[in-house]
Amino acid sequence: MDFNWLTTIIFLPALGALLIAFVPRLSSRGVRWLAVVFTFIPLALSIYLFTIFDRSAGMAGVMQFEESLSWIPAINANYHLGVDGLSLPLMILMAFLGFLVVLISWKIDLRPREYFAWLLLLETSILGVFCSLDLLLFFLFWEIEVIPMYFLISIWGTGRKEYSAIKYVIYTLFGSALMLAGILSLYFTTGSLSMVEIAQGGLGMIQTAMPAAAIFFLLLVGFAVKLPVFPLHSWLPDAHTDAPTAVSVVLAGALLKMGGYGMIRVCVSIFPGVAQDYALPLIILAVISVLYGAAVTLRQTDLKRLIAYSSISHMGYVLLGIFALGQVSLTGAALQMFSHGVITGLLFAMAGLVMHNAGERDLRKLGGLARQMPIIVVVFSIAGVASLGLPTTSGFVAEFLVFVGSFTSSAVAGIQVATILGVFGIVITAGYILWMLQRVFYGEPLKKFDKVKDASILDRVYMFAFVAVIMLVGIYPAILTDVIKMGVAPVMGLLGG
């Protein structure tokens, strides 16, 4: 495989961003079409990679489409890319959302050149995070992502956008500052920056100079801020609520997954022993995130804020699945990341559409929109029931796997209790999702919404794409789980299970 697939996929959006920013006299129509082209090709390429990804058992744990170049010899850093069963679905997820958010942003009129340039840069950085196998490269992409997010929220956001943007930046930088200290410690104790090498070398490579648990937690905090885990979550509702719709979609859809991905790829793979030792407190945090997130969601009156809080609860399942440390639960966690990315992406897109068309986002003032928005109500409901885990949607499969996996896990005594408490979160989810749908769409039609329009043709295109993926994974989950288990297998090997 001589062609540098991953480099092409990662840097095409960045190239598009440069063209958009610097080609003189580009019309705003031209900007949009450039953005479409430079996000569609990566999507097509990553789907192609998905089809030629080698799923044979012998390839489990082997990085595919690897590229490696010496980058900074002085510190032994390499430009090392590759994907396995864990990262491939997430890469496709980002490429998928990256393309759809261009369509979702079609109506942006304020400074479109800058907007699309930042949006495309954001895509490059997130794709880079999922494909990097070198810790420095990983961290570089991880940090770059903050800059486009800052601009996107603080310029194109709504409400207290500047406050939310800086809050997001400070939280993320705080997490990544500790992560940097962790990466440096890891680099010092092992002399390597290669994730694969360190994970395969195991704890044997880590000398006694520093307790492994300390490094583990330095790294974990960085990922936990991103996921987010209670009590590091408070940036999330603000950032989601005030970000423009497309950015909320990327934020909930792909950005949060960087946290979960990092936990599996770095924390659990490199420190399996420490992960087992500290699984209990992390599982407790997961359950708190699930229940607390769900409970707070119930009280929200702002449409976007409601969906934002629901993410905290759903990411709690990911944390639960990861630190249940079982084959099934890890597969479930990875699938939940993908599934939540698509479902919540659609929820935010729909919320954005309702806000845009009805001009209102306060649940107390909305109501009776089903008549004016027959298509939106159907799609919004599909996203809603997928979010609460109805069978035939991807949400069901993912959450089911997480619960089965963690219930049968032997990582921690008493995990069954935690699992049951977690399942209770589903009940609350059903409550707030159905209540939200009812308050927005049903009830007496309101006079002020008489002239409100339904989804346009363009909107229907991306709505269809979202729903198709949700249903596809829900009905035929093996399409993803076959790939994911290739990535989970080596982690299980490290855990000795």
Partner: protein, 492 residues
């Protein structure tokens, strides 16, 4: 052994400075002076590059060394001087008199710094330092308005006190060891018994006073009081010059003195390593926290430079913590990290100040709020300033990120994880005030719709700095290699 040919880079600069002053009398067209100065710098840099990689040589009976370490710094100072002169042309052309003297003084102070990087003997260190400082005192007061004069006076008075403290420290060291050459001092200290050193406090007191004297140069807390006022009052190109060159020279000489003279025995280097570690932690915290509330961008960058000096001192502390039995590869991690950080910081800060010169020159204000809407009025300037500020925070893809990674990785290697954690949390604090400027530029409402034009010389200077910042942020291998070579040479 007076190998004059090894001093050719310095002599070239000296001749250029004299010629510039003389031509100033005859020429009406003052831009020729700037061009001539830059030509002199390029020639001098050419000579310096040709000496790179050779063996270390000692000249003037051990008073100066020509090694990779010195050449690295000489090149750094030459680059700084060239960029500062490019960024000054607009500014200077508004002066009625003394344009030639301005360029000549910049050259002479650069000459002083080049000598500082090379000296290995206490008295010549002092002389080189004074040569630099006196030129800078004049440059700070060059505008002759009340603010500039006040800044110059403050700088002169505090600088003189610092010089006196430094001299006193040197005298104590001399009295204690009977030597002025760094190598001889080291030998004298090592030949003493532990109790012999401890029974006489002269050595430790001398070291403390030397740290205080140099601490003034690098703007380390608590010797930073002069920074905000001087930065605010001085002509902006000179502020830029002070913020990078004076600091780099200070670090060069500290590194040389402490490593060569006080590097052994180990308990001694651990001692001063700890002092620098504490100064670093305090410096970055104080600098960053005070910077949070500044409304004037020059003052803000002044406090930011105090904080950056704190990050740089992490490298010094690492040098002190390196155990002498360390294997070769990590033994000079502190030095090479410090050199790389200095190179990155230099380009970044010069870039930021050049953008500020361009913007302030047209807007006629240094207040952050007057930068509102620059993203619209001068998109490229705003983009360049944004890049430089991101680099100062230490975020990719800018040089500051790699610099922090590199210098902190050395510190972690030598057991300074606590200091690294303090430092990374400090960068989070700093993000707040750097990004505030970014926010004002891109989201603020412009006071007027008129574009902000800038001259070609400024654009060249800004373009070069930003290019350097990006290159060092994305493919830093080459500069890291240079820094490593310079540090390695110095170790042996």
């Amino acid at each position: 052994m007076t190998n004059f040919e090894l001093l050719i880079p310095e002599l070239t600069l000296l001749v250029t400075a004299v010629v510039v002053i003389l031509l100033d009398l005859a020429l009406k067209n003052k831009w020729v002076l700037a061009a001539l100065s830059i030509a002199g710098i390029v020639v001098s840099a050419g000579f310096a590059i040709s000496m790179w990689g050779g063996d270390s040589e000692s000249i003037f009976f051990g008073m100066m060394a020509v090694d990779n370490f010195a050449i690295f710094f000489k090149l750094l100072f030459l680059v700084i001087a060239a960029l500062v002169i490019l960024a000054s042309t607009d500014y200077v052309s508004k002066l009625k008199r003394f344009q030639g003297e301005y360029y000549a003084l910049v050259l002479i102070s650069a000459l002083g710094m080049m000598l500082m990087a090379a000296t290995t003997e206490l008295i010549s260190i002092y002389i080189a330092l004074e040569l630099t400082s006196i030129s800078l005192y004049i440059l700070v007061g060059f505008l002759k308005d009340p603010k500039s004069t006040e800044a110059a006076l403050k700088y002169l008075l505090l600088g003189a006190v610092a010089s006196a403290v430094l001299l006193f420290g040197m005298a104590l060291i001399f009295g204690f060891t009977g030597q002025t050459q760094l190598g001889d001092i080291a030998a004298a200290i090592q030949s003493m018994s532990l109790s012999g050193v401890l029974s006489s406090p002269g050595l430790i007191a001398g070291m403390v006073l030397i740290i205080a004297g140099f601490g003034f140069k690098i703007a380390a807390v608590p010797f930073h009081m002069w920074v905000p006022d001087v930065y605010e009052g001085a002509p902006t190109p000179i502020t830029a010059y002070l913020s990078v060159a004076s600091k780099a020279a200070g670090f060069a000489i500290i590194l040389r003195v402490f490593f060569s003279a006080f590097g052994l025995p180990e308990w001694l280097s651990l001692d001063w390593g700890m002092v620098f570690a504490i100064l670093a932690a305090v410096g970055m915290t104080v600098g960053n926290i005070i910077a949070l509330t500044q409304t004037n961008i020059k003052r803000m960058l002044g406090y930011s430079s105090i904080a950056q000096a704190g990050y740089l001192m992490v490298g010094l502390a690492t040098v002190g913590f390196v155990s002498p039995v360390m294997s070769d590869s990590s033994a000079y991690a502190g030095q090479s990290g410090l050199l790389f950080f200095l190179a990155s910081y230099t380009l970044t800060n010069l870039g930021a100040f050049t953008a500020i010169i361009a913007i302030s020159g047209k807007v006629d204000s240094d207040l952050i709020k007057d930068y509102a809407g620059m993203g619209k009025r001068a998109p490229l300037l705003a983009l360049a300033l944004t890049l430089c500020l991101i680099s100062l925070i230490g975020m990719p893809p800018a040089a500051g990120f790699m610099a922090k990674f590199y210098i902190f990785s050395g510190a972690v290697q030598h057991g300074l994880l606590w200091l690294v954690i303090v430092a990374v949390i400090n960068s989070v604090i700093s993000a707040y005030y750097y990004l505030r400027v970014v926010k004002v530029m891109w989201t603020g409402k412009p006071a007027s719709e008129t574009k902000v034009p800038s001259s070609i010389a400024l654009r060249v200077a800004l373009g070069l700095s930003c290019l350097g910042v990006l290159i060092m942020g994305i493919i830093p291998g080459f500069v890291m290699k240079l820094a490593e070579m310079a540090a390695k040479m110095f170790v042996s």
